[in-house]
């Protein structure tokens, strides 16, 4: 009925040297090679698709660049025809590729820890000599680096792919437009890394694979939409022009009318337009309320300008592509590192 406490044995193991990090290389590869080959397959298939559809487009674009003199009417026509032919293709490709980062987040990031909880294997993995904090850091770092490199390579390919349509001044697909901005340069790897980090954190918070995948999807899409709509247009103070057209390739943020230096309200505009039986639905969209008395040669905006209004267009010029890419890449990288650090902290803090 007695239990002895012998004098504490000298702590020979107290300064135990940690196991080398490289041990996690095989472990991570063996356990996640399916997910990693999935990433390579998806990016590879998308790359083949971009090459197959992009090479004819580049051949056609050679005719546009070869046309001399470049600013002549016939050459403008060639460029317009090129844009009309390929704009749709680029938009569809961009739309499909938009899904890749979030799929990587949902299929590689979310299951990373959620599956350990769902299967109970965290009780095996986290009681081995390697230690759960270092186990988590090693897995997160190796996978994050792998998918970021894959995404960076693919982003470079996509930059090549969209270059003709942007070079030809393709309608609304300027380099800053939300459909292509985040698929190239540093934005694509940054968004992919962010999706992975969101997935990993969702995995440890929710601890079930499928709900964590859906949470990743929802959070990433919300972040991407909010960024494209509210954040990106304000990385730098927008430029202002009083002409009807913004410079080629610019991202238009707002178009409106001013009167006496103040933004014109719809009521003010409608008061002016009542004389010609027109109604403004927005400052740029008009609707006849009766047989319009406005001469058909004149457009309502011109009519308003004649009556003391000025046009105002705020926009981001195409030349800000790279500053904006670095701004977006930087804050996404910071956010991803914060999310990954939070994930490690959660693992360290509690397991059950």
């Amino acid at each position: 009925m007695t239990s002895q406490t012998l004098p504490a044995s000298p702590n020979v193991n107290a300064s135990l040297r940690p196991l080398p990090w490289r041990r996690m290389g095989w472990v991570t590869w063996r356990q996640h090679r399916l997910a990693l080959s999935g990433v390579v397959t998806v990016f590879g298939a998308a790359a083949v698709y971009l090459l197959i559809t992009g090479l004819p487009m580049h051949n056609a674009y050679a005719n546009v660049t070869a046309c001399r003199p470049a600013r002549s009417g016939p050459c403008q026509q060639v460029a317009e025809n090129f844009v009309a032919t390929y704009q749709h293709l680029v938009l569809v490709s961009a739309g499909l590729i938009q899904a890749i980062p979030v799929l990587i987040g949902a299929f590689v990031g979310a299951p990373l820890l959620a599956r350990e909880f769902e299967a109970g294997t965290f009780r095996y993995a986290w009681t081995q000599g390697f230690g759960r904090t270092r186990w988590t850091i090693a897995k997160l770092a190796l996978l994050a680096i792998a998918i970021t490199i894959a995404a960076a390579g693919f982003g470079a390919l996509f930059s090549w792919y969209v270059q003709p349509i942007i070079g030809a001044g393709g309608g609304n697909s300027g380099p800053l437009s939300p459909t292509v901005f985040d698929l190239r340069g540093v934005a694509l790897p940054a968004w992919t890394l962010a999706a992975f980090a969101i997935g990993a954190l969702a995995g440890i918070l929710i601890r079930r694979v499928t709900p964590a995948m859906f949470a990743t999807l929802a959070v990433w899409v919300a972040l991407a939409v909010l960024t494209g709509t509210y954040l990106r247009p304000h990385y730098e103070a927008p430029l202002v022009t009083h002409t009807a057209d913004s410079p080629a390739g610019a991202l238009v943020i707002n178009q409106g009318l001013l009167r006496d230096g103040k933004p014109a309200t719809l009521d003010m505009i409608n008061q002016t337009l009542r004389a010609v039986d027109l109604q403004a639905l927005t400052p740029t969209l008009f609707h006849p309320t009766g047989p319009s008395t406005l001469p058909s040669s004149e457009d309502p905006v011109q009519y308003l300008i004649q009556h003391g209004y000025t046009q105002i267009t705020t926009y981001q010029p195409a030349s800000r592509l790279w500053p904006f890419q670095w701004i977006e890449g930087s804050w996404l990288l910071a956010l991803s590192l914060l999310l990954l650090a939070t994930t490690v902290w959660r693992v360290r803090r509690r397991a059950t």
């Binding site: 007695t2 196991l19 109970g120 081995q128």
Partner: protein
């Protein structure tokens, strides 16, 4: 050296305490059985000891003073969790390689010899093995690390009687060969009787009984005598539990050395571990802890002497 030492340990999940005021010292070199009703806190205590859960109160050390969950503690403890989780999509060979990579020591020779003995093919996926084989693989992985402490949480739940026998035989061989200390929780009392030489009985989150099995058995007797005399007899003695029949009553009493005199008309019998455990399980208020007789709600802070 105490293999697990807990002082006033508490673990709260939400608003309820899974463990509360749990003070315990299991000396090294034992096969310690952790028993108790469902929800008594067995798994919680083991999870804290192996570093998976952090205590909400008190502290716990393992392997003679190493903080639970520290690298030095993880290095010396092998844990086989409930339902013996393995990566189902990995082959047995991959599980071996995985465990080798994640630990300082891994005895390939031992692991392979044991798998051959068990007839478990190394190329088979862990998920395709039977429940019993999975448990055996998990035990093999744990023992191949040559731990100082082997912690087993309900390891025999998935095993048939023969597999249970083989499982415990492997554990006992490791005890004999390696001198590994073992702490195992189980519902299978009859199984424990053969292997355990230390008993820890948990009840609603605290330790009710703790001690070496030999000492516990030597300090308890079943007294059988006329039922009419049972109450008078119980008043004089340290009675744990009374089982009444038509004419006879059986009292499990804790004896304090030779000073106790047998009441007239009663006969004393030795008690089995299973009987003793069941009696204490039926009376959660009774306690048998190291040192002078104590009651559950008057735990002295000192547990070691």
């Amino acid at each position: 050296m105490n293999i697990i030492e807990a002082r006033d340990l508490g673990k709260r999940y939400g608003g309820s305490w899974a463990l509360h005021g749990c003070t315990l010292a299991i000396p090294a070199g034992h096969v310690a059985a952790l028993v108790g009703p469902n929800g008594a806190g067995k798994t919680t205590l083991l999870n804290i000891a192996v570093g998976l859960a952090a205590p909400s109160a008190g502290n716990v050390s393992v392997l003679g003073g190493r903080p639970a969950g520290s690298p030095a503690a993880l290095d010396g403890i092998a844990f086989v969790a409930q339902d013996t989780p393995l990566y189902k999509s990995l082959s047995v060979a991959d599980m071996l390689h995985l465990t080798r990579n994640l630990n300082r020591r891994f005895d390939d020779g031992y692991a392979n010899a044991r798998l051959n003995e068990l007839g478990i093919p190394r190329e088979r996926k862990a998920g395709d093995l039977s429940g019993g084989q999975q448990t055996q693989v998990a035990l093999t992985l744990a023992l191949a690390r040559h731990p100082k402490l082997l912690v087993l949480d309900e390891p025999m739940a998935m095993l048939d009687p023969l597999a249970r026998h083989d499982f415990m035989a492997a554990v006992m061989t490791a005890v004999a060969d390696d001198g590994v200390s073992v702490v195992l929780s189980s519902h299978v009392l009859a199984e424990l009787e053969r292997v355990a030489d230390y008993l820890v009985l948990l009840s609603s989150g605290s330790v009710q009984v703790a001690g070496e099995v030999d000492v516990l058995l030597a300090s308890h007797r079943v007294l059988s005598g006329p039922a009419s005399e049972a109450d008078r007899c119980a008043a004089q003695l340290n009675v744990v539990h009374v089982r009444r029949g038509e004419a006879q009553a059986h009292l499990l009493v804790r004896i304090n050395g030779a000073t106790d005199t047998l009441p007239p008309g009663f006969e004393a019998h030795p008690v089995s571990l299973e009987e003793l455990t069941l009696a204490y399980l039926r009376v959660p208020g009774a306690a048998a802890l190291p040192g002078p007789t104590r009651t559950a709600n008057a735990l002295a802070p000192e547990v070691t002497h």
